[in-house]
Structure formats: structure tokens, C-alpha cells
């Protein structure tokens, strides 16, 4: 740290504290350059940080899928059934399903559901 810098620091910190700051700044400053860095620059490979970051969206999707399928069985039924039918039919089926989904062993095909819906009417 040169005199100019020291003067600025001294106007804000006590000498004791400044000595500690100097020691810590020296520690931060003291970094060795990786031995193979020059070779890496001259023969570039895909950046590992880019690879790391490109994996993040994939991790997020995996986490989402885990959360989605790790919910109660009731939700799983609804997801699998709703994926097989159009959005217009979803609302109608929901009213039928809300009754039958109380049973954990509930397992019906779409044709069976349509019969149940007819009977409901």
C-alpha cells in the first residue's frame, strides 16, 4: 500500500485497524496463477462454467418433476387423467373425480369414468 492510499485509509480507520486491513488485503492479493492456464488459453476447451450453468435449467426441470410426482396420490390421478382429455372436458370430470378420489385404490379408465358420469346424471 503506497503513501497516498495509506493517507486515505488513515482518515477513516485507526492505525490498529488499518494494520489488520493491510494484512487481510495482502492475503486477498496473494493469489497464484494456475500453472496450466496459459496452455488452456492457447488451446481452448469448452468453458467449464458454461457447462455448469447450462446444466442448471436441466436440474430445475428435474426438481420440478420430482416435486410434481412426489405429491399425494390424488394429484397423480388427476395429472394422468387430465393429460388424456381435452381442457374442455377437464372441468366436467373434476366434479366426478372429486368424489371418487377419496379412495386411495381408485383406478378407472376413461370409458369407466364416462359411464360413471352418465350414471351421475
Amino acid at each position: 500500500m503506497d503513501n497516498e492510499l495509506e493517507k486515505i485509509w488513515e482518515s477513516h480507520l485507526s492505525q490498529e485497524k488499518l494494520n489488520k486491513v493491510k494484512a487481510q488485503l495482502d492475503q486477498i492479493k496473494d493469489i497464484s496463477v494456475p500453472i496450466n492456464l496459459k496452455a488452456k488459453i492457447l488451446n481452448p476447451e469448452p468453458s467449464s462454467s458454461k457447462l455448469r450453468y447450462s446444466l442448471l435449467p436441466l436440474s430445475a426441470i428435474c426438481l420440478l418433476m420430482f416435486l410434481l410426482f412426489n405429491t399425494k396420490s390424488q394429484d397423480s390421478y388427476q395429472i394422468s387423467l387430465h393429460s388424456e382429455i381435452s381442457s374442455n372436458e377437464t372441468r366436467e370430470l373434476d366434479s366426478v373425480l372429486s368424489f371418487y378420489l377419496e379412495d386411495d385404490n381408485f383406478n378407472l379408465t376413461l370409458s369407466e369414468l364416462s359411464i360413471l358420469e352418465e350414471e351421475g346424471k
Binding site: 486515505i8 477513516h12 487481510q24 496463477v33 492456464l37 496459459k38 467449464s48 458454461k50
Partner: protein, 153 residues
């Protein structure tokens, strides 16, 4: 000056700058490589050998700022948690406080602080590298030190 000479002469300074700016050895290493890839692609725009260092550090600066922005957006929450942990810590390490305080400086203040404290450039050399006048360097430096000192109190 050809590409190999450019790398030979300046890769250490670029790496150091990236490390001080980002605080991560791995990120600094990756970014240094990216800086030189960009430099190689734009080598024809380099005006003279004497301005090579300043040109490379300018590329490094922009890359570091982009990286910080990206990182900040993605891990804003992580930073907040880190800050809370720091605040709740009974007796935080001064080095950690210094690094944290450095991260809170504006890009220009941080840049000036790095050149003057870690890369041993004088006020005049820093001014020349950044294309600003020495008075502005002093002013950015004073504000940076004032901010850091407040965090250390």
C-alpha cells in the same frame, strides 16, 4: 503483436483482475479464457501494442460485469441469505467482511480499488488504463475506501 505474444505477456494480469473482481478462482480461470477468445477474434481492432493491456482489461471488465449480473439474477436469494448469515455471525472474519464490502462497491469503484491495491498501479497508470483523469480515480478510490471502512466499523 501476435496472439501468442499477447497471451504470454498479459494472461496473468487478466486472471488476477478477474479473480479480484469475481472473488472466485474457477470463474476467473474460465473468464480469462473467454477474454482471450474474444481478444483473438477482435485482434485486428487492437490499435497498438502499448494499448494491449488496457484493451484486454477492458474486455475482462465487461465480461466480469456480465458474469456478476447473471450471477446476481440467478442467486439473488443466495446473496441475501449470505448477508443475513454474515450479520448474524458473532464475530465475522475481517477478510470475509472485506470481500463482502468489495462486492458492494460499484463496478468503477471496485475497478479502481483493484488496480490501486492489488495490481500496484499508480493513480496515473490507473487513470490511463481506464481512460479517465487522475482526479476521478482519487475520487472513486476515496468513496470506495469510505464505504469499506464503514462496513469495518
Amino acid at each position: 503483436m501476435n496472439y501468442n505474444q499477447l497471451v504470454e505477456k498479459h494472461y496473468e494480469a487478466v486472471f488476477r483482475f478477474c479473480y479480484y473482481f469475481l472473488g472466485s478462482r474457477q470463474d476467473a480461470e474460465d473468464l480469462t479464457q473467454e477474454v482471450f477468445i474474444k481478444a483473438n477474434n477482435k485482434l485486428s481492432t487492437l490499435e497498438s501494442e502499448s494499448s494491449a493491456k488496457s484493451w484486454l482489461l477492458q474486455i475482462a471488465r465487461n465480461k466480469c460485469i456480465d458474469q456478476k449480473r447473471w450471477w446476481k439474477r440467478l442467486f439473488a436469494l443466495k446473496e441475501q441469505v449470505g448477508a443475513l448469515q454474515l450479520e448474524s455471525s458473532h464475530s465475522p472474519d475481517m477478510k470475509i467482511i472485506l470481500e463482502k464490502a468489495l462486492n458492494l462497491l460499484s463496478a468503477r469503484q471496485k475497478e479502481v480499488f483493484i488496480y490501486r491495491h492489488f495490481m500496484d498501479y499508480s493513480t496515473e497508470q490507473t487513470a490511463e488504463l481506464l481512460g479517465i483523469n487522475p482526479g476521478s480515480v482519487k475520487s472513486h478510490l476515496s468513496r470506495a475506501i469510505e464505504k469499506i471502512s464503514k462496513d469495518l466499523e
